[in-house]
């Protein structure tokens, strides 16, 4: 049990004549000479002593320890078998503040403040916000129907009606100096992490009510930074010479304020209902993935900026033509054609090279494919679809463990969430699985008999016309983006949280 050691997120650095304690939003700078001759402080900074274990006689040592305590630098474990929601909210508060600090340390913010991110990047960030806003009504709707408790379902029935229209009212780009139409905004293909956030939070709403509450509270409680936000928006407006650009964003914050949205979640999380330790840990991990998607989106905004200075939106494919000069979703110029989804899958698999996945993700991803196939069968209304889905499921090894493991990466979770989201259309799901097979993803590969059935179905039962090309082409490019995200470096879920 921990009684007052420095939190994991506290880091110590010696620079010149100062020892710096970095924690969340602040740096405490101690005179190095004093630290060197004060063993109690050195022991605390080295995590060799707990703040509660020693009775400090020295007033200066006491002063520093007291300051660090007030800044929540010390961890006191409150782990036990079960927690009230109020206790969970208190524990999560510290964790959320750490996430906020990390989120706001991302270099993209200063690049925006200074106008250093090009318009591509600026617009990618603006439209990421549109997508996250749009996701609120969608995920909340699942909660309104599927949450296990009647009071919570009732709350979300009301919450959804307060949230669903915000993307429409506050997050279009209607600035006279930017030629971005409402249709441009609505059709902008989400960044992989924005998409993952939406798809994942919708899925979590079905399976983990506590995680969904924690994610929603995290989002709403960012209102605590109201003043900093306003200052930031003023700086960005000046840097990009876009006066009043954030007028509607500020109006949205005011609305959140006036409606007490953060307070609503505080109230829900104030009940004495009990939750087991195991459920709480699982929900924290689930909430972490949502946070990781928000954080990864900041990286992807920078990547969008790096594609070029000329404004090129992430437009969906039109007329079967891939062209990086008209849509930054494309990497190569190519006309894509095919009469069925098997041919189409071959075309897209030839567009990109894919790095092999780390072996650790294989079981998790294979299980994601299997679950998506089951989901697809549950939605299917056609005889042939049900049969091919069943044959495919039989052609995969039976799933051993569907649980998230410590090393599960955010990109792997994004891939699984994407598969799950495609399951409402068996043809789309089978199409993206075929692309993954063609790209050499072993985790997507059923036994030979299953592959034959899949190919036959995509060839004869999934005939597409020109109207269908563009929709499948856009989905294919989104899928390949996700696979490439998974093939690169992606952060893993922490093995533990400070509870």
């Amino acid at each position: 049990m921990d009684h007052g050691r420095l939190r994991d997120e506290v880091s110590i650095e010696t620079v010149g004549e100062e020892v710096i304690v970095h924690h969340r939003f602040i740096d405490l700078r101690l005179p190095r000479g004093w630290v060197d001759k004060t063993p109690e402080i050195r022991a605390i900074l080295n995590r060799e002593a707990d703040s509660d274990a020693l009775g400090f006689q020295d007033k200066q040592v006491n002063g520093i320890v007291e300051f660090l305590k007030l800044q929540d630098c010390f961890f006191h474990s409150r782990a036990k078998d079960a927690y009230s929601l109020r206790e969970i909210k208190d524990i999560f508060e510290s964790i959320a503040l750490g996430w906020f600090a990390r989120y706001y340390r991302h270099p993209v913010w200063n690049r925006l403040r200074r106008g250093e991110l090009n318009l591509n990047g600026f617009l990618a960030w603006v439209l990421h916000n549109y997508h996250v806003s749009r996701a609120a009504g969608k995920s909340g709707s699942r909660c309104a129907v599927l949450f296990p408790k009647r009071e919570l379902r009732k709350f979300f029935r009301s919450d959804v009606l307060e949230e669903y229209w915000h993307c429409d009212a506050f997050y279009f780009v209607r600035h006279p100096d930017l030629s971005i139409s409402d249709d441009d905004v609505k059709s902008y293909v989400p960044l992989p992490a924005s998409l993952a956030f939406e798809q994942y939070t919708v899925a979590v709403a079905e399976t983990d009510w506590l995680a969904h509450l924690l994610i929603s509270y995290f989002q709403e409680s960012s209102i605590r930074f109201y003043a900093d936000c306003q200052k930031f928006y003023s700086e960005v407006e000046a840097a990009y010479n876009l006066p009043d650009f954030f007028k509607t964003w500020t109006a949205h914050m005011r609305l959140d304020f006036d409606h007490g949205h953060a307070d609503n979640f505080v109230e829900i999380l104030s009940s004495s209902d009990n939750v087991s330790h195991e459920l709480f840990v699982g929900s924290l991990a689930a909430a972490w993935f949502a946070f990781s998607f928000l954080y990864s989106s900041l990286d992807q905004i920078e990547a969008e900026a790096a594609k070029g200075a000329a404004v090129t939106l992430r437009k969906p494919i039109r007329g079967g033509v891939l062209d990086p000069s008209t849509s930054s979703l494309c990497r190569v110029v190519r006309r894509v054609e095919g009469t069925n989804l098997l041919e189409f899958a071959r075309v897209f698999a030839s567009l990109d090279e894919l790095q092999p996945f780390e072996p650790g993700h294989t079981a998790f991803l294979a299980n994601g494919v299997l679950e998506a196939l089951f989901y697809a069968m549950s939605f299917s209304t056609e005889h042939d679809e049900i049969i091919v889905l069943g044959r495919l499921i039989e052609a995969f090894p039976s799933g051993k463990d569907s649980a998230v493991q410590d090393h599960t990466s955010s990109a792997a979770m994004a891939i699984v969430s994407f598969l799950r989201a495609q399951a409402c259309s068996a043809k789309t799901l089978l199409f993206v699985i075929q692309i993954a097979i063609n790209l050499g993803c072993e985790w997507a590969r059923p036994a030979a008999g299953g592959r034959t059935r899949l190919e036959a179905f995509l060839k004869t039962d999934a005939v597409i016309d020109r109207d269908g090309w563009d929709r499948f082409a856009t989905s294919a490019l989104q899928w390949i983006e996700l696979l490439n995200w998974g093939a690169g470096a992606s952060e893993a879920c922490p093995s533990s949280f400070e509870i």
Binding site: R24, F25, I26, D27, L28, R29, L30, P31, W34, K59, Q60, N62, G63, I64, F67, L70, Q71, D72, E93, L97, F100, A101, Y103, Y104, R105, W109, L112, R113, N129, V132, S133, A136, E163, Y171, S216, F218, Q219, E220, S221, S222, I223, R224, F225, Y226, A227, D228, C229, K231, F232, Y233, H252, M253, D256, F257, G260, H261, A262, D263, V266, L294
Partner: protein, 67 residues
């Protein structure tokens, strides 16, 4: 404390008019350990810390997380 009062309190603190000497603020029922450099330094001074100790805000918040 009503919701409206809580919000009013937050705005006062954030705009530096609250006069609180304490760095751990309560905003909209959400505990947050943020304040201005000046307030944090004042807190340090109240606590009798070694000469030369200083505190700086390393990270400023930017855009809110939309919902």
């Amino acid at each position: 404390m009503s919701t409206a009062q809580t919000h009013s309190f937050e705005l006062q603190i954030e705009s530096g008019k609250g006069g609180s000497e304490h760095a751990a603020l309560t905003i909209s029922n959400v505990a947050v350990n943020l304040a201005s450099d000046e307030k944090l330094q004042r807190l340090l001074d109240l606590l009798e810390v070694p000469k030369g100790t200083r505190v700086t805000i390393s990270t400023k918040a930017s855009s809110s997380v939309v919902r």
